[in-house]
C-alpha cells in the first residue's frame, strides 16, 4: 500500500475502496488475465464482473454496484473497431454518453464512474487503470452520499 498521510477521519485510514469493474469477455477480461499471467501487480480492490460485451452492460448494473456498496465503478471493453460482436461497444458508447448526463444531473459524483477501452494485449494498461482508479477513489473516500441513499429505513 502506498504511503498516506494519516487522515483525521478514522474511517479514512482504514478505508479500502471497493471498485466494481464490468468488463467484456473478449478484450478487457483477457487484458486483466494477461496482467495476471505476466505477474503485473495491481490493487486487490477491484471486483471483476465479466459480461459478454460492453453492449450487454445494462446501465442498471452501474446503479446496482453503488447500491451494493461500491465506491467506484469501471466499465471496460474492446477498442472501437475491435468488438467481437462487431458493434456492441459502439452501442455502449452512445448509451454511456447519455447516461453520464443523467447521473450528473442527479448529483452523482462522476469521478467515481470510469470508462476505458482495454484490449486483450493491454495487461499493462489494466494494471495502470486499476491502480489509478484505486488511488483516486482512496483519496475521494467512501461514497457516503450513495450509502446514505441505500440505508433501508
Amino acid at each position: 500500500m502506498t504511503h498516506k498521510q494519516p487522515h483525521p477521519d478514522p474511517d479514512m485510514t482504514t478505508f479500502e475502496p471497493k471498485i466494481v469493474a464490468y468488463v467484456c469477455n473478449w478484450c478487457t477480461y483477457l487484458g486483466a488475465d494477461l496482467a495476471g499471467t505476466n505477474r503485473l501487480e495491481y490493487p486487490p480492490n477491484v471486483r471483476i464482473i465479466r459480461l459478454p460485451c460492453t453492449g450487454r452492460i445494462d446501465f442498471n448494473l452501474i446503479v446496482k454496484a453503488f447500491e451494493t456498496g461500491a465506491d467506484a465503478v469501471l466499465v471496460s471493453g474492446c477498442h472501437p473497431g475491435d468488438c467481437h460482436y462487431t458493434s456492441g461497444n459502439y452501442h455502449a458508447r452512445r448509451r454511456w454518453t447519455l447516461f453520464r448526463e443523467l447521473l450528473d444531473t442527479l448529483g452523482i459524483e462522476m469521478d467515481r464512474i470510469h470508462f476505458t477501452w482495454i484490449s486483450a494485449a493491454e495487461g499493462r494498461k489494466w494494471q495502470q487503470v486499476i491502480t489509478e482508479i484505486t488511488e483516486k477513489t482512496r483519496q475521494m473516500g467512501p461514497y457516503l452520499a450513495y450509502k446514505r441513499i441505500c440505508r433501508v429505513s
Binding site: F59, N60, V63, K64, E67, P80, G81, S87, Y90, H91, R93, R94, R95, W96, T97, L98, F99, R100, E101, L102, L103, D104, T105, L106, G107, I108, E109, M110, H114, F115, T116, W117, V129, A145, R148, I149, C150, R151, V152, S153
Partner: protein
Amino acid sequence: MTKQLHKVCRELLESGKVQVIIGYGQKDRGQPPHPVFITSPEEVEGLVWNDQCVANLTTYLTRKEIRALGKPAIIVKGCDARAIVVLQRESQIDRSAMVVIGMACNGVGEPRLAKCAACDAHVPAHVDITIGEAVSEPVDPERRYNDLNVFMTQSTDERMDYWQDELERCVRCYACRQVCPLCYCERCVADKNRPVRFSTAPTLKGNYAWHITRAFHLAGRCIGCDECTRACPAGINLRLLNLSVARAAENAFGYRAGLDPEAEPVIGSFSTQDKESFIK
C-alpha cells in the same frame, strides 16, 4: 376551432373511416378537460378544445381497452404528435390505421406549462388533418434546456441534496409511468419479480433506481410532453431528468425524438464517428 373539430369528427365517424375519436371532454367548466372516447356522431358535441387541454392523449393508442374500440382518430397538439412518430418508429402502432387530427396550439395550462415557453411545434407535424392556425418558429436550442441549465449551475453536492429531498417524497404510484405515451411495455422492468430487478419499495434506494431507470428507458425517446411531471402527485420535477438526457442526445448526436419518422433512433443505432471525451 371547436366547431371545425366537431365537423371533422362527425364526418369521420359518419363515414365509418374511424370508430372512435380520442379527444378532450369537459363535463364541469371548473375542471380541466379530461380524455374522452367518442364512438357515435351524436356525441361529438361533447368534444372540447381550449388552452386547458394539457393531457397527451397518445398514451391511449397502445392500450388494449382503447384498441378494442376500433380504428381511432386522435386529437393531438404539436408536442403530442411527436409521440406518434416515436410509437410508429418503434412499431407500436400502425400509423395508416388511424387518423391524427392536429390542433394548432399557442400553449396550454394555467399557468402556461414550462415546455410551452420553448415550443417550436405550435403547428403539429406529421398529422392527417390540421385544425386552426398558428406559426411554428425555430427556437434557440438552449432555450429548450433553460430550466436544466439553471439547475446545473448548482454544485454536485447541492444537486445530490436536492434529489434526495425530491425522491424521498416518491411513493411509487407510477403515475409518471402510466401517463407516459412511450412507457408502453407490457410488463415494466419495475414490475419484474422473478427475479426482482430493483427494489419496488418506496425507499430512497428503490426510488433512485426507479427514477434513473424511468428516465433512461426514455433516452432518445422522450418527446418532452412533461406529462410525468404534471401527473406526479408529489410534485417531483421529473422534467429535469428528461431534459438532461434529451440535451445530451441533441448536443452529442444532433437528435431529437419524434421529429423525423425516418430517423434512426439515437439508442439502437450508432456511428463509428461518435465523439466522446470520457473513455480513457
